[in-house]
């Protein structure tokens, strides 16, 4: 009501002032008393009023103009009585013309306003459909859709309600939060499913429903994809034309279908990647299993053979042990990878000295590191609080990688430092470095360097496992090439740290 008083009185006041001004200028300024001239001028004022303001303002103006015409311009002047019967007719005609003119003019203006509102709503619909088309994230898509609807249509409350097996998924947005009663939704949805006629008078399809909740009129509009009802749109706040709501529901229905399609496509993509992983794993396994198995099989029968000499016997049993170790490591990798995939890596956090982690890592891959010189720089006198088992395992994979891709006897530098952010371990080798083509994929599962070819025995699992394990404790690992040759891997694990207390 406040806005009404702010907008309407000036119009009435202005219109009446115009009538008074016209009267005054004619009578006092020009000293004219010709009723015809006055009537035409008043008519002009009425029509202008009708064109710019509301119908009732125009009617009030007509009445005022009528009275003025009678009082000031029709003899006897200064009274509301009319002497000449002809003037009765003139006055009535004037009043009628004023009214009809007002009505016509107001109708034109209403239509124009309606058209502009329609344009505005079309614009909103267009913006909404563009929002919808630009959405690619399928998981958030429907929630975002509700937000778009609320924003584009200035609604206090908008909700996309989708029926699921047992309950309703409700994605709501807007400044107000309204709790929708599932029973109401079920009822409205049943109505939407059963009827599909177009109601020409209401200019909507069947199934619209208005329910009062907390003193707010909440409109429920069926979402239809084709002829099939797929859910409901709830809207409250700014009034929106029913046919616009229908169009809005159409856009929302398409968006919901699109989001579901995106979701399905993503699931299919995940499944496809899973298949790819599986076949990559199989290919990798069949290669990596067959060499050690062949060596073990041949060496074992060599051991049994009559020809074997003492020197050969030792050589062949060493070979078997080494290959069994290799198989063991392979199975460990597979198990670790399966656990990373299942997301079931338990973390066991405790206070530990960084040197312990390095030693544990070195022990795990003693065999591979045999031919390399490891230079450790560990200036830390601080303890860190993290999962030493996971960290050591990840470090072992990184060290193993460094040993495999560099010449025997070449040094591997390990630098361990503790800062307020946590533990940083860098492993730097003096090998050929990492080809720029490999860098982005280094930690991808089953990725093998393009340069290394088959020279290096590896499964393409180690670095991806290292990354997975570190991720489980919030850490990360990355690689880059050193300016003076060789590659450097950096492991960072966020952790609390404290100065070691001397214990006696």
């Amino acid at each position: 009501m406040a806005s009404f008083w702010r907008r309407e009185p000036p119009a009435v006041v202005l219109a009446l002032a115009a009538v008074v001004a016209t009267t005054a200028s004619l009578r006092l300024g020009l000293r004219l008393t010709n009723p015809t001239t006055a009537a035409l001028l008043f008519l002009l004022v009425i029509l202008i009023t009708a064109a710019t303001s509301r119908l009732w303002v125009a009617i009030v103006t007509s009445v005022a103009a009528d009275l003025c015409l009678n009082y000031f311009f029709m003899p006897p002047f200064g009274t509301l009585t009319i002497a000449d019967p002809q003037n009765w007719v003139a006055l009535f005609v004037f009043f009628a013309v004023g009214l009809i003119g007002s009505q016509l003019s107001a109708a034109v203006r209403d239509r124009e306003q309606e058209a502009s509102a329609r344009r505005d709503e079309l614009g909103r619909l267009f913006d909404l459909s563009r929002d919808v088309l630009l959405t690619t994230d399928s998981t958030e898509a429907i929630r975002q859709l509700a937000r778009f609807v609320a924003r584009r249509f200035d609604l206090d409350f908008a909700a996309v309600c989708l029926p699921r097996a047992q309950q309703w998924d409700i994605y709501e947005a807007g400044a107000r939060s309204i709790t929708l009663d599932p029973r109401e939704l079920v009822q409205a949805f049943a109505g939407a499913e059963s009827a599909l006629e177009f109601d020409a008078r209401a200019r909507t399809y069947a199934g619209h429903r208005t329910i009062p909740i907390d003193g707010e009129e909440v409109r429920l509009i069926p979402l239809r994809f084709g002829t099939k009802a797929i859910g409901l749109l709830a809207a409250a706040g700014r009034p929106v034309e029913p046919d616009t709501l229908d169009a809005l529901a159409g856009v929302v229905a398409i968006a919901v279908e699109r989001a579901q399609f995106l979701e399905e496509r993503k699931a299919a993509e995940v499944a496809r990647r899973g298949e790819e992983l599986k076949s990559a794993l199989l290919a990798s396994l069949s290669h990596d299993l067959k060499t050690p198995l062949t060596a073990i099989r041949v060496a074992a029968s060599n051991l049994k053979a009559a020809w074997i000499r003492e020197h050969d016997r030792e050589e062949q049993s060493d070979l078997i042990l080494a290959e069994v170790e290799r198989l063991n490591r392979l199975f460990q990798n597979i198990l670790e990878m399966a656990r990373i995939d299942a997301g079931s890596i338990p973390t066991d956090v405790r206070w530990v000295h960084p040197a312990e982690i390095f030693e544990a890592a070195r022990d795990q891959i003693e065999h591979t590191l045999k031919h390399h010189r490891i230079v450790v720089e560990d200036g830390s006198d601080r303890l860190v609080r993290l999962d030493p088992r996971l960290t050591a395992s990840a470090l072992a994979h990184v060290l193993e990688n460094a040993a495999q891709y560099t010449q025997p006897k070449s040094p591997i530098d390990v630098n361990i430092s503790v800062s307020t952010d946590g533990l940083t371990i860098s492993v730097r080798d003096h090998g050929p470095g990492i080809s720029p083509r490999d860098l982005p994929h280094l930690f991808d599962r089953f990725y093998r360097g393009t340069q290394a070819g088959q020279r290096v025995s590896g499964t393409g699992m180690g670095l991806s496992i290292a990354r997975g394990m570190l991720a489980a404790e919030g850490g990360r690992v990355w690689a880059d090439n050193c300016a003076d040759g060789g590659a450097q891997f950096t492991i960072v694990v966020p952790a609390e740290s404290k100065v070691m207390t001397e214990q006696v």
């Binding site: 069949s286 290669h287 067959k290 050690p292 198995l293 062949t294 060496a299 053979a305 020279r455």
Partner: protein, 234 residues
């Protein structure tokens, strides 16, 4: 065997080298070990071996390519080691002139048997195309084009005899489907393995004691057929 046969072992996997080389040496072969295709080709030229054991998964040159290049220069027998599950590589190597193959993981006896067969061909290059061949109860008389099971003659069609004779001449060696099709039906028939399949079924019915468990005509799935001169069980 009048002299020690020289074997060139080509495999980049050190564990295989360490297990197989002593095995071959213990059986009296003179063994040279190399880890790359380039080294293999080099060694083949400078110190011609009597047989090459060639791994198909080499780091520098594709194993099949090594096979092709060796065959372009020499008829030395090649036994291929294949770690890949795919039969494609094996068949390609065989069609490029390899004599036989062993699939990893193999047992020592399997490898030694293949080497023996391949060397036998090398040391008697004619492969006994004339005269008679006896295997178990089966006698193949090449001169008269007759086949006897014990004392009973088995009537074979000309194509059936051709197939049996072809396989028996390369006894204990695998022949690829392609090679057999080409030898019997000509180069145009190499993509029609169904001919071979039908003919083999007929032949097995006539000479195999139990056609569903062949004793003489063994299948190497997806690769080819092999004539077994000795019973697998025996």
């Amino acid at each position: 065997m009048s002299r020690t046969a020289r074997i060139l072992l080509v495999d980049d996997e050190v564990p295989i080298q360490r297990a197989v080389a002593p095995l071959l040496r213990a059986r009296g072969y003179d063994v040279e070990v190399v880890g790359t295709g380039t080294a293999a080709l080099e060694s083949e030229r400078t110190r011609p071996p009597d047989l090459i054991v060639l791994d198909l998964g080499l780091p520098d040159v594709e194993g099949t390519e090594v096979c092709r290049r060796i065959r372009a220069e020499s008829a030395v027998p090649i036994v291929v080691l294949s770690a890949r599950g795919g039969e494609t590589d094996k068949v390609a190597a065989l069609d490029l002139g390899a004599d036989d193959y062993v699939t990893k993981p193999f047992g020592p006896e399997e490898l030694l048997a293949r080497i023996r067969v391949a060397l036998r061909r090398e040391f008697s290059p004619d492969g006994a195309p004339y005269g008679r061949l006896r295997a178990g109860d089966l006698t193949i008389d090449y001169d008269r084009r007759r086949v006897l099971m014990g004392d009973v003659e088995i009537r074979l069609t000309p194509k059936e005899f051709e197939l049996l004779a072809l396989l028996a001449r390369s006894a204990d060696r695998v022949l690829t489907h392609r090679a057999i099709l080409k030898a019997i039906w000509g180069a145009n028939a190499v993509d029609q393995p169904e001919h071979l399949w039908v003919l083999m079924a007929q032949l097995r019915k006539k000479i195999e004691p139990d056609p569903s468990h062949p004793r003489y005509l063994l299948s190497e799935p997806w690769v080819g057929y092999r004539f077994a001169s000795e019973s697998a069980e025996g």
